[in-house]
């Protein structure tokens, strides 16, 4: 094994993650190569130095605080009865399914309305003619009875028209 090959495997060798044969090869190389031995010793030194990072011990009230936080998390959440509903609709799969279903239903209903267009047109025509009959049946278009205010106004208007001519 050459130096660069051994050095590439130093990290895995240190962590005992190499296959037994390879572990043995790196070990033998280290025995025979002082430069690599020195380099590996530096790596080991750093690894050992990391052990000086002191661990901490949880405070006795850790669990009590945790229970308090769990209870608070329930209080700030939605009412219990509807939690399943929010969870159900917050799922991306359900939201996508609902969206697709909405599009399909919309398309289906739209097609039905377009297909049944001829029937409403006939109905519209009937409705229009009924409206026209109602308009023409109004007495507004009857001749104005003589002597009424309307008759006088029309006479006055026609007189002023003739006067202009």
């Amino acid at each position: 094994m050459k130096c660069f090959q051994a050095q590439k495997r130093f990290s895995a060798f240190q962590d005992a993650e190499l296959k037994p044969q390879e572990q043995e090869r790196v070990s033998k190389h280290l025995e025979s190569c002082s430069a690599c031995r020195e380099r590996y010793a530096e790596m080991e030194k750093v690894w050992q130095a990391l052990g000086d990072f002191k661990e901490i011990i949880p405070q006795p009230g850790f669990y009590g605080q945790l229970v308090k936080k769990v209870n608070e998390s329930y209080e700030t959440r939605s009412p219990v009865g509807f939690q399943w509903l929010f969870q159900f609709f917050s799922s991306p799969g359900v939201a996508l399914t609902l969206l697709l279903a909405g599009i399909l239903i919309g398309t289906f209903l739209g097609n039905i309305l377009v297909k049944s267009d001829s029937f409403p047109l006939q109905q519209n025509r009937i409705a229009h003619s009924q409206a026209a009959n109602e308009v023409f049946s109004l007495r507004a278009f009857d001749p104005i009875p003589p002597g009424t205010l309307g008759d006088k106004y029309l006479r006055l208007a026609s007189y002023s028209e003739e006067g202009r001519r």
Binding site: D15, W47, F53, K54, I56, P58, Y63, V67, K69, V70
Partner: protein, 191 residues
């Protein structure tokens, strides 16, 4: 009374039924490991305590949905790792910088065992610990997480890969780079 030899997976099943004693036992078993993992990652005791509690809140909330496909420890480590990485991102957004005060929330084992080393020893140990914490926090997040899981939790590359959701060769590569970077940082601190 719960059998203390009961497995974590069985305790989770009990927790899912609303058994608070089972949950308490789970917390007792894993709180120290999770607290220290997070502490080493974020470098702040108060923040580590809050995040460790958040891990267990998530365990409690997910108990009914938990399916023991993987080892419970792998699952809880994954929750912690994700929380750490997310916390770091949100802290960066809030422009918060971690600073560790010597008067912390947790206690070191020496304080716990009432061993009374000299004041100078305590200061030196605190200083060494602070330097290592600083060097660790200077590593990129993924390298730091892989290194902490290997060095302090003694997990295999395979387990680390499962927790970090990457390949074994990626873990190996992260550790090679982390060790190389750390060597430079710690040499810098010795100067």
């Amino acid at each position: 009374m719960i059998d203390p030899l009961i497995s974590d997976e069985e305790l989770m099943a009990e927790t899912a039924q609303g058994d608070e004693h089972a949950f308490e036992l789970l917390v007792e078993r894993h709180q120290s490991r999770m607290l220290n993992l997070i502490y080493r990652f974020v470098g702040n005791r108060t923040q580590a305590r809050d995040l460790a509690q958040e891990v267990f809140i998530r365990v409690w909330q997910a108990a009914s949905r938990y399916k023991p496909r993987a080892k419970f420890t792998t699952w809880i480590y994954r929750i912690s790792a994700n929380l750490c990485l997310n916390e770091l991102k949100s802290s960066a957004r809030k422009k918060l910088f971690f600073s560790e005060s010597l008067v912390g929330e947790g206690r070191t084992p020496n304080e716990e065992n009432n061993v009374s080393p000299s004041a100078e020893d305590i200061l030196l140990a605190e200083e060494r610990s602070r330097q290592i914490s600083h060097a660790l926090r200077s590593l990129p997040e993924n390298q730091r997480m892989a290194l902490i899981l290997k060095r302090y939790d003694n997990l295999s590359y395979h387990e680390i890969a499962k927790i970090m959701e990457c390949s074994v060769s990626a873990v190996e590569s992260l550790l090679v780079r982390a060790k190389g970077n750390l060597k430079e940082k710690l040499v810098f601190h010795e100067k």
